[in-house]
Amino acid sequence: MTDEVQTALPSVPKFPRGVRLKHDEARQEWVLLAPERLIKCDPIAAAVLQLCDGQRTMLEIVDILAEQYKADKLLISRDVFVLLKGLADKKMVQM
């Protein structure tokens, strides 16, 4: 695990005001809504972002997903980090 991922694990990812995760009933998919932006979530992103409730740490989110998908925690933590870091750079997630 890289230091960068390791350092991020205790942080609590949350959506800032103006960014909302929503299940789009009309199209049956999850979308992340932001100022003049709309990102359609693939199933993995949807699974991760639904767990970002402003309470759970990234580590807790990784644990839940590793259990849910019976997958390796190292791989999951890297995937979760890449997703959240990318959104944080676009100001769509606070970490």
């Binding site: 960014v19 009309a26 199209r27 809504l33 100022p35 003049e36 709309l38 100001k91």
Partner: protein
């Protein structure tokens, strides 16, 4: 139209709705996107009408609602409308001039669930900003409002419309937006519809000034990556390719005027003979799928050459129908912003002539 209507199944669902709550506005900006014939207060939809429209929009698949005008704060029911949008799950964006907005209103909008605020600023220079807006003290008031927006915890976008008088201060506008705590700034080069068309010769910047402004803003985008998002509305009189206007006609967006007319874009009433339906008569879903105006230029079947066989026809959708009509008299022509248009040279000639020898007074929007 000669072509058959597209089947309901081939029509996608809209994602955004621009609600022009009123055409009333304290400012008089000469590039206002509202039509030259403004709709009066007595024709405006009621609170209940708007709530029904927003409920129908959410059901249809609209995700984001942009509450605009005119100045939307001129509507006394603004907080009530925002609360209704939030209750049906719509993301709400307030597009305001800041004039007529109080700190108490910002606070109430936050509690009602408003998601985001876009504040217009006319120039980075105070005197010039007030002159453009036709309103003394506007610049100062907007600084105050930006402070209230941030103090209440809202994300802020600053919108700056650029033209001949302020184009040399494009970079200063980005820096002002950062100073005000904006997380996003729109550097929007004037689009020549609505009031901007009769004011075109007083607004048109030179090609050299436009290119410098675009380069300056590009450099700032790199320098401030991660700190502020910079979006650019392209100056298409100086472009090679047209913009993908509205992301394609009747493909993603719906515009509702203060009186309830439903348009594929805010300027589409400038095209003669289009039949618009009204929310007081038809359900929004019916209007999206079946109204003549929405089906007139939907898809690519309406296209003539050079669009019809162009490999960019699904990229820019032939550009803007309103601009095609304004400059060629034919709304189904290729947008003259495209270098393939036979009218492209005309557009360049207009830009060159009006930027060097244009009017020096505005026809203010009243």
């Amino acid at each position: 139209m000669n072509s058959p209507l597209p089947s309901t199944r081939s029509i996608g669902l809209p994602i955004g709705l621009l609600a022009e709550l009123t055409h009333r506005c304290p400012l008089a900006c000469p590039y206002c996107s509202n039509p030259v014939a403004l709709e009066g207060r007595d024709t405006e939809l009621s609170t209940d009408d708007w709530k029904r429209v927003f409920s129908e929009a959410a059901k249809l698949g609209i995700l984001q609602v942009h509450l605009s005008g005119g100045e939307p704060a001129a509507r006394r029911d603004l907080v009530d409308l925002v609360a209704h949008c939030a209750s049906v799950g719509l993301y709400t964006n307030l597009i305001t001039s800041g004039i007529g907005v109080t700190e108490e209103l910002i606070h109430q909008l936050f509690d009602a669930g408003l998601d985001h605020i876009q504040l217009s600023i006319q120039d980075a220079d105070a005197d010039s900003a007030d002159k453009i807006a036709g309103y003394k003290g506007a610049f100062k008031k907007k600084q105050l409002v930006a402070g209230w927006i941030k103090a209440n915890g809202f994300p802020l976008t600053v919108n700056a419309v650029m033209h001949r008088v302020n184009i040399t201060r494009s970079a200063a506008m980005v820096e002002l937006a950062m100073l005000l705590g904006a997380s996003r700034v729109e550097i929007a080069h004037t689009q020549y519809y609505g009031w901007a068309l009769p004011n075109r010769s007083a607004l048109m910047p030179s090609r050299a000034a436009t290119e410098k402004a675009v380069a300056d803003v590009d450099a700032l985008r790199k320098r401030h990556a991660g700190a502020i998002v910079i979006d650019l509305v392209i100056p298409d009189y100086h472009a090679t390719y047209p913009k993908a206007c509205m992301g394609g006609w009747a493909k993603q967006f719906i515009n509702v005027t203060p009186s309830g007319k439903v348009l594929p874009c805010h300027a589409s009433e400038t095209i003669p003979d289009l039949e618009f339906w009204n929310v007081k008569v038809h359900n929004l879903s019916d209007i999206w799928h079946r109204s003549p105006a929405f089906n007139a230029y939907r898809g690519t079947a309406w296209m003539a050459e050079p669009c019809r066989s162009c490999d960019r026809r699904d990229v820019d959708f032939g550009g803007c129908r309103c601009q095609a009509f304004a400059l060629t008299g034919d709304a189904s022509a290729t947008d003259p912003a495209c270098f393939k248009s036979p009218h492209h040279v005309l557009m360049k000639d207009i830009a060159a002539a009006e930027s060097s020898d244009g009017a020096d007074t505005y026809i203010y929007r009243r």
